[in-house]
Point group: C2
Chain length 214, copies 2
């Protein structure tokens, strides 16, 4: 199947496969059937077979999947080894938490800079990286050519900064700013808008609608 034909839900499931297979590998599991994997992941076995067939198929009928091979293969498909140079924009609580909490390397990225417009934050060391003044972003990008930006800035300043970063060569945005970046007419720009509250609201729905009556 041509890669551009693979549907977005399948692509979104790839990191989950990668995570679960990594766990299984750590636990020393050698082979796993699509049925066993489906039980662990809460998908159907036929869904898993369909998903993996999009990328060429990795199992032999009746033999299941080799965990290590499949984990590696999905890692390659995701681009885990690509070390995409990445900057964080905004060194507040959220930017700091992301710098320290996220294993960029393990997801295919390499964090090379953190920027903030607040002079009081400049020079602070976060995850081993000194926070730089936002007005240095231009020269930094020209020199280091980052391709990905993590936006941890307020909604109000996001639009202007996105335009600037695209001019400076940023191709991918991991966006926590609550400003939905519109990619229409911006060919080759990739965006993942992160809305943390969405999953919190899903929890609220569950509490509100499924709570057991006493």
């Amino acid at each position: 199947m041509s890669k551009s034909m693979i549907s977005s839900p399948v692509i979104k499931r790839l990191p989950r496969y990668y995570r679960f297979l990594g766990e299984l590998e750590k636990q020393g599991v050698i082979r796993i059937s699509s049925r066993e994997l489906s039980e662990k992941m809460g998908l159907t076995a036929s869904q898993i077979r369909q998903d993996l067939n999009c990328f060429g198929g990795f199992g032999q009928q009746g033999y299941g999947y080799n965990v290590q091979e499949l984990h590696e293969a999905i890692g390659k498909i995701i681009g885990i080894a690509s070390d995409t140079r990445t900057v964080i924009i905004g060194a507040g609580n959220l930017g700091s938490a992301i710098a320290m909490h996220i294993d960029f390397k393990k997801a295919g990225f390499s964090l090379i800079g953190i920027f903030d417009s607040d002079p009081e934050k400049t020079g602070q060391i976060i995850a081993g990286i000194p926070v730089a003044q936002m007005n240095l972003i231009e020269s930094f990008c020209n020199e280091n050519k980052p391709e990905c930006a993590v936006l941890c800035i307020p909604k109000e300043s996001a639009e202007e900064i996105v335009d600037k970063l695209i001019r400076l060569g940023i191709k991918a945005f991991w966006n926590y700013s609550h400003y939905d970046i519109n990619v229409d007419g911006r060919e080759g720009i990739l965006v993942q808008n992160v809305h943390l509250s969405d999953s919190l609201m899903t929890l609220s729905y569950g509490l509100h609608n499924f709570k057991k009556e006493k």
Copy 2:
């Protein structure tokens, strides 16, 4: 349609509808057709009509949806006004970022306590709430009866803490700990496991597979 019959993808889309409709309301939009809404949200118009029909339907053929009414109705379905009492476990960077960055009230929750086992964190004020020692969680829960816990602790300590919190009456977990809480056999316990890196890997996939050749 019985609420227990509504599929999980539909439920997961509700917060997005709520968000988009809130934006439209702010912009002063009075009515919107399913076609216009679908363009904004990147869904098909028939998908939107199907989704909203699960909850009784809100539009009149040919008239579209009243934005304010639909926003309010979806807010009620989500349980936006329920103010579910919530504690954050773990006051590191991530716990602090979540306490300060998330509008709990707007998602149907009310943040009433933050706990950490590190004595150096105790007494720090985060989002207006003093961080309490983890060994006070039992008396706090008995007194204040929180129903939701946000887990911002390392994977290693999560399993034990989850068991304890369930005994203390926690019904819903918003889980950032990288430990996948298993709800099998734990009736009435709701979990949203948050894996921030998944959307980062999706970005890596895009960069790796769709990057324009120069």
